[in-house]
Each structure stands twice: as structure tokens, then as C-alpha cells.
Symmetry: C2
Subunit: 231 residues, 2 copies
Amino acid sequence: MPVKSSLTMKNSAVVLLSGGVDSSTTLAIAKEEGYCLYALTVDYGQRHALELEAAAKVAAQMGVEKHLLVRTDMRGIGGSALTADIDVPKEGIAKGIPATYVPARNTIFLSYALGWAEVLKAPNIFIGANVMDYSGYPDCRPEYLKAFEDMANLATKISVEGKLMFSIKAPLLQLSKADIIRKGLELGLDYSLTWSCYDPAPEGKPCGRCDSCRIRAKGFEEAGAKDPLVE
Amino acid sequence: MPVKSSLTMKNSAVVLLSGGVDSSTTLAIAKEEGYCLYALTVDYGQRHALELEAAAKVAAQMGVEKHLLVRTDMRGIGGSALTADIDVPKEGIAKGIPATYVPARNTIFLSYALGWAEVLKAPNIFIGANVMDYSGYPDCRPEYLKAFEDMANLATKISVEGKLMFSIKAPLLQLSKADIIRKGLELGLDYSLTWSCYDPAPEGKPCGRCDSCRIRAKGFEEAGAKDPLVE
């Protein structure tokens, strides 16, 4: 990795990128804000591994400095329809926290982002957390993100030595899915590169029925835009 | 995994187990305290992979309910003598945070433990963090552990729904290495099963010169005991 001046690194950001609508739009926003971009994708043994290819395509479109894929395996931990042998709900969005919730997923992802950010001396960590259209996930709420930031600044050598404080940034936090999509389109993000479906058909088409497909469809509809993934 | 009554699960603990002296003694203490034990070991591409075998042996000796190995790869993140192409210091213990510090390692490990603890409904997470003999690591300090605990209780479905609060337990926090070893011997822990060396020789012998070997040797000496790994 090329050596950067400390001034440049202050403007660097690690962006968690799953390849879905939210994280891809977050990356586009971080780019618009002028950050030098380091995209981090976690392959955690998820059912919808197609999103890993989407992440690589989006990272390339956005011209990131580096795209790091961290491989891990959360299937041993289980407890989620995305990592264990539990059906993905397809009957519509139910109340409460859905079966696709993955225990501690954002905490694990943010922890990797923190480790990389410390190595890069990048003070900014972006995550596409959003409370509006999908309020069920506890690890998408502002109080959680603040607690993670507080913990992060006690966890790292660079912070404890007073050289750098980390900031967790979640620019989508209060946006609706329609607002997110409008913003991404405005920034030139190509949503045909993204992937949302939790449970794709064998031929690699979105199922159209899981929560993630439903939320995506509603978002495009309300944004008055056509989803390039849907024929 | 057998279904347990909620009473039993309240007495369950996820114990982070690297196979070294500290985490193995922590496991022995959790066993003595009567917890039902779930040991979690992370294979993170560390230089000293011998500790993974040690962890399996210690888990077996302690009669854990389950031993889970999570594979990940932190070499892409780098920044440490344990995961990147940086020499392990061997000239004696220097001041400051050593090169063997792995960015965000305890945060990543505790995050996996949290995910598994949520699935198991186990409120206790044990970690062998210790500030006495190795005060350099920021993510071994009590203020860090408290911040992680606060974050954990905002991160998880089970906590947010008010069903369970997580407690991070670090029984070695204020013990010297000699006290830790005395305690482990008292509890019947077989230290010949453990592994400490950061940079073992090809034939699988401790190098005797890295910080971890030095701290272990000093601990055994001060405890008035013989290290079964040293001939």
C-alpha cells in the first residue's frame, strides 16, 4: 500500500460494503464527501453470496483505493436464517426482529473495520445502518453506533496513545429507502451492480419475496425509479 | 445442541480460549465457578497456530459442553507481528505497546463470543484479559471491557428485548502471571497442554525469547513451579 501523508489519511475512510443498496449508497456518499475510500467486505458464509460479487463491482465503479475481502465463517455460530438452516421469511414483512437478524453481525463487521482503520490510520468508519425502513435490527440504532464508537476509542493503540479518534458515520441513518435510492441515483451509482435478495434462485435471480427484495422494490417504487435488476 | 432449560442457560458461559496460559486458566476458573462451558477459539491466521491445538486439548481436559473454532483471516488487515510480515521482538520486553499487538483483536474475538452467546442465550462471556504483567494492550483494560459490555447490551436482539443482559467477565484482570499459574495449578489445569510462544521453531518448540515466552518463564519462576513445556 502506498505511504500517504498524515493529512491524506485523516481524510481516509473504511466503508463497510456488502454490495446491497444501503452500503453501496453509503460508499457513493463517502466518495462525494471527498474521502479516500477503503472498502471492506466480509464473506461470512452468508446464504446470499452473490452480494460478494456485487460488492466487488460497486467498489470498482466507485474507484476505491483498495477493496479488502475478509473471510470468516459465522455458520458455526448460527442463529440466523442467513447463516443457519432456518428458512428465510417470504410471506411479507412481519413485526419484530426478523429471522434474518444475524447475532452480533454489525459488531463483528465494525470490529474488522476498526482493525483495518487502525492499520490505515483512517479515522472514519462508514456503515450503511438505517433505522427507517427496517427498524428491527438492534445494531442499526444510533445509541448502538455511539456505544461502538466509545468502545472503539478505548480499544485501540492509536486512540489510547492520543493519536487518532475514530468516528462511526452512518449517513443513511434517518433516510427512507426511497431517499437512499434517489441519493444514489443522483450520485451516479449504478444499482444494476448491487444485490439485495437474501435467497436467490439457483439461476441467480432475486426471489422477489424475501424482506430484502420487498423493501428494495418498495424503495424503487417510491423513488419513482426502475430497479435495473427487475425485468 | 441439546435444549437446556432457561435456568441452566443462565449459568452458561462462552469462554474465549486461545490455548495460552491466561485463557486456559480463565476456563479453569469458570469451570470451578460452576458454569456450563462453551469454549470459543478463533483461528485468525496467527503465526503461532500451535495454540489452536493447545486450545482443543485444554477444552477437552476441562470437559467443555462444546468447543467452537471460528476461522477468519486477519492477515489482510495486517499491522501486527502476529499476522503480518513483521518480526516478533525477541530482545526483551520493551516499553510501550509491542509489535505483537493485533489491531482490534479482542474486539473481534469478543464480538464472535457475543454472537454465540446470544444464540446460546448464555449471559456470561469470559476473557483472559490481564493488566498486570502485560499492561501494553489497550483492549485488556477494565474501561475497555466495560465499554464493550455496554455496547453489547445495545447490540443484540436478546438484550434489546429485555430478555438477557450480557456480562463480560475477566477474572485474571488484576492477577500477576505467577498468581494466574498458582491458581491454575490449584485447579488442576495441565499447563503441558497450553501454548504461549509467538514464534515457535519449526520443530514446534517454544523460542524462549519472545515476550510471551519471557512472561511465561517469569510467571512459572515466581510461582515456584516448573513449566512442563520446558525441558
